[in-house]
């Protein structure tokens, strides 16, 4: 048996990891709800975000926080343009074409990042390099706490945005019934691109905050696939579900790795398969049958 302090330590690490997955999954779900596109390049937004922040803060030396803000904004702009210039043209084509296009984007972004920033692993200095003692011999890195804190703040801000503001409610409306939203004069196309921007920004933030844990290289975007399985566990299309699913796999992962080292790295997918067998609609599903 693990001593209690190790259990707590693993659990906190797991929650932090789950929050990071959750931030990426948020983008997956937002974009899916708005356009019914599963953006397989979403992890790459995270990777690009980490590189952008790295560039602004280390190469240009502007300090972590300005670089963090600027990095997120610039990846948001990339997300906006990807939709406004490219994805918009392929909407309405078969799901397979859309799927292949987003996968292709993943490859393109990875190659571009490699060409621009180099293929080596780099490290990003963040203000979160200390450790905090929680008592009972448990120490936790501030980088982990920063991820949890950022997740709480971002999720809260997004909730207020979508529930309270006119534009946020219009984005919900457009995702629930796109044609009716058009009929109300809601600029649906612009709002969809804006959704992509928000998703990309959150992913970029996750990338920068995760940098102390994962380091920065072109392959960290594959974390997005784990976030995707978290979103599927929660019930794809539900934001609370995605967060819950991601927290779950984040929590299960370190324990599974400890007790069953032979499946190291794949426990998230095992959990996903189990959930799909038992509850194919996911843990929290939001479905609605239109009245005839």
């Amino acid at each position: 048996m693990l001593p209690m302090s190790d259990v707590i330590h693993l659990a906190i690490t797991g929650i932090a990891q789950g929050c990071a997955y959750g931030l990426i999954a948020l983008g997956f779900v937002l974009i899916y709800k708005a356009t019914e596109v599963v953006n397989f390049a979403h992890g790459e937004f995270m990777m690009l975000g980490a590189f952008a922040v790295l560039t602004f803060s280390e190469v240009l030396g502007w300090g972590f926080w300005p670089a963090f803000g600027l990095g997120c904004l610039s990846i948001g702009a990339v997300g906006y343009l990807v939709d406004a210039q490219i994805m918009r043209r392929i909407i309405g084509q078969s799901q397979a074409s859309v799927f292949i296009l987003t996968v292709a984007f993943g490859f393109i972004f990875r190659s571009l990042a490699g060409m621009i920033f180099g293929w080596n692993t780099q490290s990003l200095d963040t203000p979160f390099d200390g450790r905090i003692a929680l008592g009972g011999g448990i120490e936790i890195g501030t980088d982990r706490l920063a991820i949890v804190g950022a997740t709480v703040v971002l999720v809260g801000a997004l909730y207020l945005f979508f529930a309270r503001t006119r534009v946020g409610i219009a984005m919900q409306a457009a995702s629930q019934n796109q044609l009716a939203a058009f009929y109300m004069g809601i600029p649906v196309k612009r709002l969809i691109s804006f959704t992509w921007a928000i998703g990309a920004m959150i992913a970029a933030a996750a990338g920068a905050l995760l940098a102390p844990v994962t380091q920065v290289d072109t392959t960290i975007g594959f974390l997005g696939i784990k976030a995707l399985s978290g979103a599927i566990i929660g019930g794809f299309g539900s934001i609370p579900g995605a967060l819950l699913g991601c927290l779950l796999i984040g929590l299960i992962e370190p324990f599974a790795d400890y007790y069953v080292p032979s499946i190291k790295g794949v426990s998230a997918y095992v959990v996903m398969l189990l959930v799909l067998f038992i509850r194919p609609e996911g843990l929290i599903s939001q479905t609605y049958q239109k009245k005839a």
């Binding site: 409610i169 629930q176 809601i186």
Partner: protein, 257 residues
């Protein structure tokens, strides 16, 4: 001569290779209710979608206040002042009644006037007042229809396009809704283009009517004349004189095809 508020000139609309509307013209003057009648598949919904920009016509013009607006995005058309209340209600199911109404007024910035109009909607549809915070998806069909019309009204449009408001509603509810449609026209001066299968209800509230059949216009005229016309009576109102032999042969059934 005054310019009609909405005018369609020789509209041809296709679904892929299939011609759904073959050269249709109509006009709606300011302040009137105009009905378009037609059976399933006659192209009524297609006509409205072409007018509001949800479908692009291949030929012909849509003129709104004399300005060509065909083949534009529907949100752009909506901002000009055309509110489309689609067939089957199409409310935002996970938004509350109040939020649905607020979305109708998305492009308006005059907060006080919007708040006053929300009140006006609840006056016309008192049933909705108690349901403000209810999610629209959980309303009954009649309540959803009222919400959809109210949401269209919230844009304070110059023209309201109403697609089959009687669809799937009980006869009493149909009467209620048409009475409100007539009041909106009379009291708010709202111009309405109404597409219906329920000829009786629609012609009673409207000034003029058109009849569509397989993608073309086959009749038009003042509503009271259409109500009296033998063909309308037979096809849409189900009234017919008994034939000489007491039963009519199906072969004699007249079609415009």
């Amino acid at each position: 001569m005054t310019i009609p508020l909405l005018e369609l000139r020789n509209i041809e609309t296709y679904y892929g290779p299939i011609m759904a509307i073959r050269g249709v013209s109509l006009h709606v003057d300011e302040g009137e209710i105009v009905t378009v009648l037609g059976a399933n598949g006659a192209g009524k919904t297609t006509l409205l979608k072409t007018a509001s920009g949800a479908l692009d016509s291949r030929k012909g013009q849509v003129l709104f206040g004399g300005v060509e607006i065909q083949c534009r995005d529907p949100d752009w058309v909506a901002r000009l002042g055309i509110a489309h209340v689609p067939e089957g209600r199409e409310v935002f199911p996970f938004l509350s009644v109040a939020e649905n109404l607020a979305m109708g007024a998305y492009n308006r910035s005059d907060r006080d006037a919007v708040a006053a109009d929300v009140d006006t909607v609840y006056d016309y549809f008192p049933g909705l007042r108690g349901l403000k915070t209810r999610m629209a998806g959980y309303l009954s069909g009649g309540e959803q229809q009222m919400l959809a019309i109210g949401r269209g009204f919230m844009a304070r449009p110059k023209l309201l396009l109403l697609d089959e408001p009687s669809l799937g509603l009980s006869p009493t509810l149909v009467d209620e809704i048409f009475a409100i449609i007539a009041r909106l026209n009379r009291e708010q001066g709202l111009t309405i283009l109404l597409v219906e299968q329920n000829a009786n209800a629609a012609l009673r509230v409207s000034a003029r009517g058109y009849v569509m059949e397989v993608g073309g216009m086959v009749m038009d005229g003042p509503s009271d004349e259409l109500l009296e016309s033998a063909d309308i009576k037979e096809f849409y109102l189900g009234k017919k004189d008994a034939g000489i032999r007491g039963r009519r042969r199906w072969k004699k059934r007249k079609t415009w095809r």
